[in-house]
């Protein structure tokens, strides 16, 4: 009510419109009188036919609901507006309806028909929202309607509607659990869905409705693993948690044999593990040798595909992956999660709280994992107490012989803190360190004894308690401390501490025979004023003294027992009675009396100070139950590993639905550029690294080494293949696919080494061409692809297939065997005969030596007019025309093939690669409505009639860019959709190479001085020093031809612009050190300037 003026103000705008005064707020009117009136005017507004009035009324009603006010009597008036046209009114009505439908079931039925109509709407969003509201109305009578709607929506065309259906399942289930069987059918169906949008929601529904039906997951397991990275973050959490449980039932423990090893080995293990990929790998290898355990490839798949999610910005996702690793990964690999968890400690304090709880549990089991991050758990005076105490817990768990001195030094600082609860916890922690690490026990004890003289009573009390526990371990050596503590009874008031001291004195009264009776004397005096626990200990002390030293303490004991007999607390009275019977011999007292000494002064085991987080890991980490250390409602027990692995073949999918294409090539391509392309990790060279923690530099070196040494690569590939095979279980198909692939891998290797004309050559070429057609010629990741690309290029040029791919700017592979690319024999020159018109752009770079060779062969000074050359020098870079996301599954890429366009020499040939990643056929692909800028011309490619799902088509179109880098805009149409796309040529593609002699070059250059000459100085980076690379970089940046040159430190290139045929001459002169000068002569100044930039950039890379 207090807040109502604020709401009133918000509505101020409308009252200025001069509406009838409905501005009454419940608070402003009388308590009883206005109730009816208030709602009357709201009703009036709702009945009006002005949307603005309705909206105003709805806003006020929602504000009432927000404050928890009852607005249920407006139900009839509101529900009438469910079909209102105004979208905001409608939304607010939905809010109201969902809130009150449960209370007014009959009236709520009035709205149902509106939603039923909505379910049939052609617009997917309207269908979805209708289903959403319909399923949120908790009216049992509509269960059949809901069921029907869900079933229908589950097979809707739109993934968004299917997602909504998945959301509706738990709603219906909570309304009527009898529908379970039918709902499971729907879940089963939706689980098979292959869109990322649905995956998270349906797993959520699965978890709520039928978490026990683990069998439903089998067939979808691999798909879920692969989709995971592209699912929205909340869905990821749910899926990961579910998969953790799944994996626990289906795979064998990766650590089963290790548990037999003793602790020591485990420690050694951890020292090395933390982030050394190599170590982990070696470790894994050696483990593998030692024992027969082999990880199920599906188990590995899960670990590999979840790992990148440790980098998520969402703490819940990170935690989910962390717990997955903790529960499922081999010990050697768990370490990777530490870094991510430590990162979360920078987050909000609530996040810290939860993460620290989990780290505390983990650090008991896997101490080594967090040791490198010890300092991240250091405590700041500004941390909230609950965080401080958790950090302390972790620090204590991490303490070992090597770091204990550092930790104790830290603890010393903490003991001086102003936060007394924290100080008390620190003292406890010191006690625990002392018990766990024998080496420092005496140091700790001395430190604690010093604390006994602390000013703060709480500190002293806590110290006493801890010292008591420590002394119990070796009492004989410490009678001095016991004496010291005996003195403290005069000062310490904290009951627990007094009780502890008394117990100590009683327990070890033989060590302090003189003091003990005196203490009892003092305590007898103050007995009546003591707290109950102290009283009990006084009785206890008295009894023990009576038994050991009855001469001195008999009377005192009697006195104390008498006092206790009349105490107000019955516990104390009982205890007194009990003890009297035990120790004081009378006729009645039985046999027990003889054993009194044994009873009281038996050797007692020292208490074990251990973490409260011990054994908490039987709860799934990250769960609510773990946090509360109690089983929460609905907690799904994390099952133990099975002894025998269940049949892994249940996860085999006969016809992998989510990749309908049979060819592996095609599948790869389909996921060519997924968002975090890890989802198809199999193909990447980083794949092997994925399974271990990797450090950046390591990865780099490994990728370069795999590039340069072919034997290495081969091994890796083979490994990959075999793994892939076992994962995919596409048995025979797979085999078939594999064989030619292996062959062409070999083939490409042969081609590289220059042994052209080997018997398998032809076959390879065919193979290569076939593949090439299917593939988008773009920078890709993975040996498999690269090698098949090599195969395809080997046909047009056997030279430097590796370096060809390198030239692709996006390609990250460092140049491999350069030596081989230089070994080019003249036999390979057949690539200068115009290649058969086949759509794969050749990516070849020609080495310097070849150029000179060529020059000697084909060109003499006779041809004075520059000749246009076929595109020998080309490095193909692909650009994206339509991203598969934006294109709804249709991905289009283009590249400049650097071939003359057949129809028109003034056009630049653009190679377009269209791949259909959707699951339906795309028809009538064509270019529509080209909107060229003035002078620009576009020669469209012939219409593609149909493109089957997973297929790729390649077409060539010609564009006359008029020697400008303006983009060519046009529409790409399918039978259903049209996309606006544009192609912008890099300046280097607007020209075609010309061959000329040195003399010609100089002559032409002479004509293009002054304004037409652009000179720029640049630095050549280290790796760009060799002739080969310079030529390669320049030719990759621009479609130019090399011109021979006498001087060894100069490079010349020439080209003509495609449209106007103006000459572009490039001179690069190397100077002292790594400097160089680039000169471009061209009458097209704009092109010249841009080209300079591009070339410098290319050289700098």
């Amino acid at each position: 009510m207090a807040a109502s003026p604020a709401y009133g103000e918000e509505k101020g705008g409308s009252s200025s419109l001069g509406e009838p005064e409905y501005g009454h707020d419940p608070a402003s009117g009388g308590i009883f009188s206005s109730d009816y009136k208030r709602h009357d005017d709201l009703k009036e507004m709702l009945d009006s036919n002005k949307d603005s009035l309705k909206l105003e009324a709805m806003k006020r009603i929602v504000a009432m609901i927000a404050r928890g006010k009852n607005a249920s009597d407006l139900f009839p008036a509101v529900v009438k507006n469910v079909a209102c046209k105004n979208i905001e009114v409608k939304k607010l009505v939905y809010v109201y309806l969902v809130r009150y439908a449960e209370e007014q079931q009959d009236l709520a039925l009035l709205s149902i028909s509106t939603f039923q109509r909505g379910l049939k709407d052609p617009n997917q969003l309207i269908r979805a929202s209708a289903l959403r509201v319909l399923s949120s109305i908790r009216v049992p009578i509509i269960v059949p309607i809901m069921m029907l709607a869900i079933k229908e929506a589950a097979s809707d065309m739109s993934p968004y509607v299917r997602k909504t259906a998945a959301h509706a399942i738990p709603k219906l289930y909570s309304l009527d659990s009898d529908q379970k069987d039918q709902l499971i059918e729907v879940i089963e169906k939706l689980l098979a869905d292959k869109t990322t949008l649905v995956a998270g929601s349906v797993v959520m529904a699965f978890e709520e409705v039928c978490p026990e039906r683990i069998d439903l997951i089998h067939k979808n397991y691999r798909k879920l693993c692969n989709l995971l990275i592209d699912v929205e973050e909340w869905g990821q959490v749910v899926i990961i948690n579910m998969l953790t449980r799944y994996a626990r039932t289906q795979f064998l423990s990766p650590n089963q044999n290790e548990s037999l090893l003793e602790e020591n080995t485990e420690k050694a293990f951890y020292g090395s593990e933390e982030e050394d990929a190599k170590d982990a790998k070696a470790e894994a290898a050696s483990l593998a040798k030692r024992k027969p355990y082999v990880m199920d490839p599906d188990h590995r798949l899960l670990l590999r595909n979840t790992k990148p999610l440790l980098q998520s910005r969402n703490a819940a996702v990170v935690m989910a992956v962390a717990q997955l690793y903790f529960h499922l990964a081999p010990k050697a690999e768990v370490g990777v999660i530490a870094k991510a968890l430590v990162r979360l400690l920078r987050s909000h304090s609530e996040v810290q709280y939860v993460v620290l709880q989990n780290v505390a549990t983990m650090s008991i089991k896997r101490r080594g994992m967090f040791e490198p991050y010890l300092k991240s758990f250091y405590i700041r005076s500004t941390d909230p107490t609950q965080i401080k105490i958790l950090k302390l817990e972790v620090l204590t768990n991490l303490a070992n012989e090597t770091n204990i001195s550092t930790i104790l030094r830290e603890f010393q600082t903490y003991i001086r803190s102003m936060d007394k609860d924290f100080v008390a916890a620190t003292i406890q922690a010191i006690g625990r360190c002392a018990t766990n690490i024998g080496k420092v026990r005496d140091t700790c004890l001395n430190g604690l004894v010093q604390l006994l003289s602390n000013r703060d009573e709480l500190v002293v009390a806590e110290s006493v308690v801890v010292i008591k526990k420590l002394l119990q371990m070796q009492p004989a050596q410490h009678s001095e401390i016991i004496k010291h503590m005996a003195k403290l009874t005069d000062n310490i008031q904290v009951p627990m501490a007094r009780a502890s001291i008394l117990w100590l004195i009683g327990e070890y009264c033989e060590h302090v025979p003189k003091i003990a009776p005196d203490v009892l004397r003092k305590m007898a005096k103050s007995f009546t004023n003591e707290e109950d626990i102290v009283k009990l200990q006084v009785i206890n002390l008295a009894a023990k003294l009576y038994l050991t030293n009855s001469k001195q303490s008999k009377l005192l004991t009697q006195y104390v027992l008498n006092l206790a007999k009349y105490d107000q607390n019955y516990d104390i009275r009982d205890r007194a009675r009990f003890i009297r019977q035990l120790i004081v011999p009378t006729e009645k007292s039985g046999a027990l009396n003889k054993y009194a000494k044994k009873l009281f002064l038996a050797q007692k085991p020292a208490p074990i100070l251990e973490s409260s987080f011990k054994d908490r890991d039987h709860f799934q980490l990250g769960s609510l139950s773990h946090l509360l250390n109690a089983k929460a409602v609905g907690y799904q027990e994390l099952p133990d590993w099975p002894d025998e692995a269940p049949d892994p073949s249940v996860r085999n999918v006969e016809v992998p639905e989510w990749t309908k294409c049979t060819s592996r090539e095609k599948r790869k391509e389909k996921v060519e550029k997924p968002f975090y392309s890890d989802s198809e990790g199999e193909s990447g060279p980083t794949e092997s690294a994925d399974s271990e923690p990797e450090s950046g530099s390591e990865e780099h070196s490994s990728s370069s080494s795999s590039g340069s040494s072919s034997s290495d690569t081969e091994e890796e590939e083979e490994e990959e293949d075999s793994r892939e095979q076992s994962e995919d279980k596409e048995e025979e198909e797979e085999e078939e696919e594999k064989r030619p692939k292996r062959k062409d891998k070999d083939g490409s290797r042969k081609a590289v080494s220059g042994s052209a004309g080997s018997p398998s050559e032809e076959e390879e070429e065919e193979e290569g061409a076939k593949k090439g057609k299917k593939k988008a010629p773009q920078g890709r990741k993975g040996h498999a692809e690269t090698s098949s690309e090599e195969a395809s290029t080997s046909e047009s040029s056997s030279s430097g297939s590796d370096s060809g791919s390198e030239a692709e700017a996006k390609q990250r592979k460092p140049p491999s065997s350069k030596a081989s690319s230089k070994e080019i024999s003249l036999l390979d020159l057949d690539d200068f005969t115009p290649p058969p018109p086949q759509p794969i752009p050749s990516s070849s770079i020609i080495s310097t030596s070849l150029v000179t060779d060529l020059e000697g062969l084909t060109l003499t000074d006779t041809s004075l007019t520059p000749t246009l050359l076929s595109p020998a020098f080309s490095a193909v870079k692909t650009y994206e025309l339509l991203h598969r996301m934006a294109g709804e599954g249709l991905a289009v890429e283009y590249c400049f093939s650097r071939r003359p366009f057949p129809g028109d020499p003034h056009m630049v040939a653009v190679q377009i690669q269209i791949s259909n990643n959707t699951d339906t056929e795309v028809k009538n692909l064509r270019v529509n409505e080209p909107k060229p800028l003035s002078g620009m011309r576009i020669q469209e490619f012939p219409e593609i009639e149909r493109l089957a799902p997973g297929d790729t088509a390649s077409v060539v179109m010609g564009i006359d860019f008029c020697d400008s880098t303006q983009a060519a805009n046009f529409q790409l149409c399918t039978h259903t959709r049209q996309f606006y796309v544009s192609i912008q040529p890099p300046v280097g593609e607007l020209m075609a190479p010309v061959f000329m002699s040195e003399n010609e070059f100089k002559k032409e250059q002479g004509k293009l001085m002054g304004m037409s000459e652009i000179t720029e100085k640049l630095m050549l980076p280290e790796k760009c020093q060799s002739d080969h690379t310079i030529v390669q970089q320049v030719t990759s940046a621009a479609n130019v031809g090399r011109v021979p040159c006498g001087a060894s430190n100069e490079y010349r290139f020439a080209a003509k612009t495609v449209t106007s045929g103006s000459l572009v001459l490039i001179t690069l002169e190397r100077r002292e050190g790594s400097t160089a000068q680039l000169t471009i002569n061209s009458e097209k100044m704009v092109i010249g300037t841009m080209l300079v930039k591009d070339i410098i950039q290319a050289l700098a890379q």
């Binding site: 002005k50 948690n241 300092k375 005076s381 107490t385 001086r416 803190s417 609905g634 991203h883």
Partner: protein, 424 residues
């Protein structure tokens, strides 16, 4: 209804004085009285930051966060990862912040309808639905003064009448059809130094935590790639979902289609092997004398390893012991305040000039009779250094693909003190 009800059941917003000023239920209504357990815990905790985030009650679990003087208390009935809820609640608070400029009780009350609409879209049946700011903004337009005036006249609404397409696409973080006349992309590289410096001035612990916050106003569907001169500096990185993980793995290039507007691109930690340069030093002399119930306080701050940049915005806060009654100090630079209630001393220093080092010294008055405080307070230092990323991280270049216009690009570096504490 005792069937499993997962995820978030209800949400209550509670202010510091314990008023429940907003409630929202995604399933059956839960009575406000459930909050009594929360109030109980709050009372026990004394300090707001010590309220346990998870409270177990007989029938429900309460998971709460404290943000901007508001408790977001969610009611849970069954097992759910607590971080899931906590992260979501923070996302809600972030969204309010984003929509209303601040996440305060007044702002929420003033915009209660929008808040309700947002909550309705963010959760469906307690399970997060649309949490991306770009999608939400398509569904529900944020309030502006202009729009509220226009709305009141024309009766139009804040609810988007175009149906959101972002939700349907595979790039849910970016709204479709973005258009700007000036295309701009700004990146702020913000690094914070977390450090604990001990009494003698040596560093106990120091590390650099950085973020790159971006403000991207680019038309269409730009595909950006951002590369660094020295990407290997980054030890541990967490990404906005838009970043292509594989590209980073293989090439150390951030490649992404950005959301529209402001967002955090990455946060990172600089590898701990690198020594962290500590840009300031503090000389301190704090002592308390028992008999005279007074003490001395003398603190000097000076620059150190600041790479030739000025250290500015220096503020020192000290939580003095409870026994301190008052402080009589003189500052050679800036001004200081001491709050006798909270015992917090704040010294706003401003810029440090190496020629004349700022110093604050004087007398501390203690409560007479009280024992002298055993401990010296820690000094919390804040500072800022413009145009410097202390780790040496440098953005190399930003390339844009997919669109043809030339965007305006800007990168700004700033170094700040994070949790920078000097023990005395």
């Amino acid at each position: 209804m005792c069937f499993q009800q997962k995820m978030i059941h209800s949400l209550f917003l509670i202010n510091c004085s314990g008023d429940i000023f907003l409630e929202k239920h995604w399933k059956s209504v839960v009575s406000q009285s459930v909050c009594d357990y929360f109030f109980e815990a709050q009372e026990k905790a004394i300090d707001v930051e010590n309220v346990p985030p998870v409270i177990s009650t007989p029938h429900h679990y309460l998971i709460s966060i404290y943000r901007d003087k508001i408790f977001f208390v969610s009611v849970i009935q069954t097992e759910v990862p607590p971080l899931f809820v906590i992260e979501f609640l923070h996302r809600v608070a972030d969204t309010f912040q984003d929509y209303f400029g601040e996440c305060s009780e007044t702002a929420i009350k003033d915009n209660v309808v929008i808040v309700y609409e947002l909550l309705e879209e963010m959760l469906d049946n307690g399970f997060p639905l649309a949490t991306e700011s770009n999608i939400l903004k398509e569904l529900i337009k944020p309030p502006t003064i202009l729009r509220s005036v226009v709305n009141s006249i024309t009766g139009s609404s804040n609810v988007g009448d175009t149906l959101p397409t972002g939700q349907l696409s595979n790039i849910p973080w970016r709204r479709a059809g973005v258009k700007y006349t000036n295309n701009e992309a700004y990146f702020d590289v913000i690094e914070e130094i977390d450090a604990i410096i001990d009494k003698s001035g040596s560093t106990v612990f120091a590390e650099i935590q950085g973020v790159i916050d971006s403000c991207i106003k680019l038309s269409g569907m730009p595909d950006l790639s951002l590369s660094f001169m020295n990407p290997r500096l980054l030890d541990d990185v967490s990404f906005h979902p838009c970043i292509r993980f594989k590209r980073w793995e293989s090439e150390r290039v951030l490649s992404f289609i950005p959301p529209d507007g402001n967002f955090r691109l990455i946060s990172y930690r600089v590898s701990s092997q690198n020594l962290v340069a500590i840009p300031v030093y503090v000389k301190h002399m704090i002592s308390f004398k028992e008999n005279t119930s007074s003490g001395r306080f003398d603190v000097t701050i000076g620059p150190k390893q600041n790479m030739g940049k000025t250290v500015e915005g220096v503020v020192m806060t000290v939580h003095m012991p409870k026994a301190v009654l008052n402080m009589n100090l003189t500052a050679t630079q800036g001004s200081y305040t001491f709050d006798p209630v909270t015992k917090v001393l704040t010294w706003d220093v401003g810029k440090i000039t190496p020629q004349k080092l700022p110093n604050l010294k004087g007398i501390v008055n203690l409560q007479s009779g009280a024992p002298k405080p055993e401990e010296n307070p820690s000094l919390n230092i804040q500072f800022k250094i413009q145009q410097l990323a202390i780790s040496g991280l440098k953005v190399n270049r930003l390339d844009m693909y997919g669109e043809k216009y030339k965007p305006f690009k800007g990168v700004k570096y700033i170094t700040k003190a994070g949790k920078f504490q000097v023990r005395t």
